[in-house]
Symmetry: C2
Subunit: 339 residues, 2 copies
């Protein structure tokens, strides 16, 4: 390709200036005036100059790329977080590459190796349901790659996290069911290794306590919270002859499974059983009855996490303290609890 | 980190063999027997040996990484294609990094530069709605990076493509509406620069023709096929006093918008207007009435495209001919056309 053969020296010659000025301009150095930069960039474009990005980045040891690791891109919550990440990163001149662990620790390990090998400038991450061992994460930290967790974070010290107030979310969901007259409230929980599910459960317990409703262990059913888990949870409750009039599910997907199955066996929602989900997936507005849920500000989480990561990328040599930022969720009332 | 300091020489010493044998084994060279490879890999693991993946890959000029470029990860069709890609790539030892163009040509260009700079071994791509200029794609080809398009492909010669039979999909959708007694069938189309939308429109025309229904240009409404476009299309039809009793939408999202708006203004679906979408998004089973649609085999497309890409990656020095593989779609009948 001819275009590739244009060098900074050709540009310097064409403009009758120094090659090092051209190089500085192309690297966006503050030592070159805006006007000169523009002139050089225009000439470079006109002449079809192509930077050897790889060489240039290897030299500068940056790639202007952020790696994002999520359990599944197909979940609305994660795709809305990614939207917040993309918007923020793009404005700052960073590209985003996304990898999914598919909830598997083994894949998550591979991904972190790939991202490190690709020399990403930083990583935004939400861990898998299997991630109970954090060696791969510690290794990434030790390599000095800035890292911010969002939503699902590991139980290790000195990490940057952007979380929502899961305790309050769990409390609000349960309190809402109690306010609707529910006395026997089941909780569909996720793997307890993940702090978010632990905290939602704690919020549930606190809401019961404040209303003097005794906590019953048999009302807590843990699973991976897939749609079929919601179905199975209901079957299990019925098989065990447990009476229930409210369900707080730690995600919408399992709540949707429960709604579909309860509809099938002609249990009236919300009259017989009121249901609250978590995360406000788009399907929750479309299911019949529509699902009351806790809305997580996905876009905001992505934006905040990216801002925090970029601070750490840009100040790698001054050691910033790590921080945890907590964003608030809110309950959206729909038909599934409207009684 | 201590683990990082173990070298191939340490492993060679521990096993009392040649360092170059260790190196070959770690690079999976066919010149080392399976038994020796196993012995070396086990020892390497035991000693906590970590390859410097970047150095090793720069040397071999491979990264074992496949880049995927899609318009939006949040579309079910694309996330199911990506699932097929991940499964296939993972089994072959490749990592997958995903980037989204968000339907913008500018971002798509950036992404291809990032992927090239990250030295991915190959790229699987579905182009944006804005992609009417293919310079960035030609450049990637000229750099010798193997490339396979799926679903949305550019109009350039010598490309590898995995497509579905969009003509037949459009034909089947329209023919189905005609078989349900529809006489005035509107078509929601996408940007005509994309062959998939052109072909769906051609299928629509052919189905009308075979049933001797005259084609009317005012029944074709082109948009970006977002949910709000479906709403606006209906408003436009009503404003223009156009009579219609059937809609074939080139995607589900715009069809969902139409259903929601028609429900709102109390038009009966399917009695007054029957509707068929395209791509079988999960929401199409949940909307009321549920949406008849053309099912695209997303997982299969992803798997086939990855197989094709890996063939090209592995045979880069023998020049394989390019090929286009066409997979079939099928119509799923639901309530929105059940009359």
């Amino acid at each position: 390709m001819k275009a590739n053969k244009v060098t900074i020296h050709d540009i310097a010659k064409a403009l009758d200036i120094n090659s090092s000025t051209v190089s500085r301009a192309l690297n966006d150095s503050p030592r070159v005036t805006k006007k000169t930069k523009e002139k050089i960039l225009n000439k470079a474009k006109e002449m079809g100059y192509k930077r050897n990005l790889l060489a240039s980045n290897l030299r500068k040891n940056v790639t202007n790329t952020i790696g994002v690791v999520v359990p599944r891109i197909s979940r609305h919550f994660f795709s809305s977080v990614i939207q917040g990440i993309e918007e923020t990163a793009y404005l700052e001149g960073y590209s985003v590459i996304i990898c999914q662990s598919l909830e598997q620790l083994k894949r998550e390990k591979n991904i972190l190796e790939t991202l490190a090998a690709n020399r990403v400038d930083g990583v935004l991450m939400s861990i898998s349901m299997e991630t109970t061992n954090y060696n791969h994460i510690q290794e990434l930290k030790q390599r000095g790659i800035p890292l911010v967790f969002f939503d699902r974070h590991p139980n290790i010290s000195k990490t940057n996290n952007v979380l929502i107030n899961d305790f309050k979310g769990g409390f609000d969901a349960t309190h809402h069911l109690i306010s609707k007259g529910c006395k026997n409230i089941v909780h569909f929980s996720g793997p307890q290794e993940l702090a978010i599910y632990k905290n939602r459960l704690q919020g549930y317990k606190q809401a019961l306590k404040e209303s003097n409703i005794p906590f019953r262990n048999e009302y807590i059913i843990s699973s991976r919270l897939m749609e079929h888990d919601g179905v199975n949870n209901i079957k299990e409750l019925i098989a065990k002859n447990l009476i229930f009039d409210g369900i707080f599910s730690a995600n919408d997907l399992a709540a949707i499974g429960a709604i579909k199955y309860l509809n099938e066996i002609k249990v009236n929602i919300p009259k017989d059983v009121a249901i609250v989900g978590f995360s406000n997936e788009p399907i929750s507005t479309v299911i019949n009855p529509s699902l009351t849920t806790i809305n997580q500000p996905g876009f905001e989480i992505g934006k905040t996490a990216t801002d925090l990561l970029l601070q750490h990328i840009k100040n790698q040599h001054t050691s910033l303290t790590t921080e945890t930022i907590i964003l608030e969720s809110n309950l959206i009332e729909r038909q599934s609890s409207n009684r």
